[in-house]
Subunit: 153 residues, 2 copies
Amino acid sequence: MKVNFKKQNRLKEFSKDKSKIGLKNSQKRTLIIEYFLHEDKHFSVEELYNEIKKISSEISYSTVYRTLKLLTTCGLADECNFDDGITRFEPVHKAQHHDHLICKRCGKIIEFKNNEIEKLQQDVAKKYKFSIKFHRLALYGLCSECKKKQRGN
Amino acid sequence: MKVNFKKQNRLKEFSKDKSKIGLKNSQKRTLIIEYFLHEDKHFSVEELYNEIKKISSEISYSTVYRTLKLLTTCGLADECNFDDGITRFEPVHKAQHHDHLICKRCGKIIEFKNNEIEKLQQDVAKKYKFSIKFHRLALYGLCSECKKKQRGN
DNA sequence: GTGAAAATGAAAGTCAATTTCAAAAAGCAA
DNA sequence: TTGCTTTTTGAAATTGACTTTCATTTTCAC
């Protein structure tokens, strides 16, 4: 498992905070956190649980669930909803907010960032004297590969 | 209950289709549909059920639920999710797609439309060779009234 | 090591959404 | 109108993802 510097720092941060907020250093939790932060993917609890199980069969669904919620509370993970009733978690990239393209055929999730859209959102908010705390933008459709496949059919 | 022309037409359309797809003309369903289409609001099943109950106490939650699902299938209603785990339904305005501003304090839902944002979404899609079938954009925050109240506190 | 506090797993509970099924209503045909 | 078939309905049960409970295990400061 390749460890990238930024992510290691995030994990270290997490470790530093732990004592302050009364957390103990659990091996299982650490394994889950490392796996989750190093994989740059969107995981449902179920999905992460299934992958973790392969590495360490002694980790329960509850622990995976609780760890993801904990990371969310600590600001190291974000919860996403993509219209299928399943909550997914993604590692927070502190540097940049982003939105999502979701392929309805293969389920692929692509992240994108568009400053112009964000600016226009602020314009909309201003028009309605509204202050935006956060937003969700998801574009649903077909990714390039699935488009090719569909033509083939 | 004021009936606007466009909505009456939509209802008529619905009625026309009914026989073709094997639906019978139920009084209760008709009442629910009329109420839903004439109120230009976002309803959860629960909310619509509570309002309908006041008019006709003999209509059950199941019927309201099934009617809203039916309207969605027929393309006369859309399902929305605003990050609170509750599905809301809105009458489809055939003329225009729109997005939402949601006040996290009072729950108010404001609809808006911004062609520039839509255009930029297409640009994003093109960049990733993605074809968009539909999208969801929701801006969460505080509406003008709630901002005022908050200052007052 | 000992003891207090936190973490864990399995099972139970929650809650909105959805389905089931027996009874009621709709509507076609005689 | 009556009889018959199909659809609709209400109440209750079920589903499925999420969340909590609680007895047991692990952590860690002393």
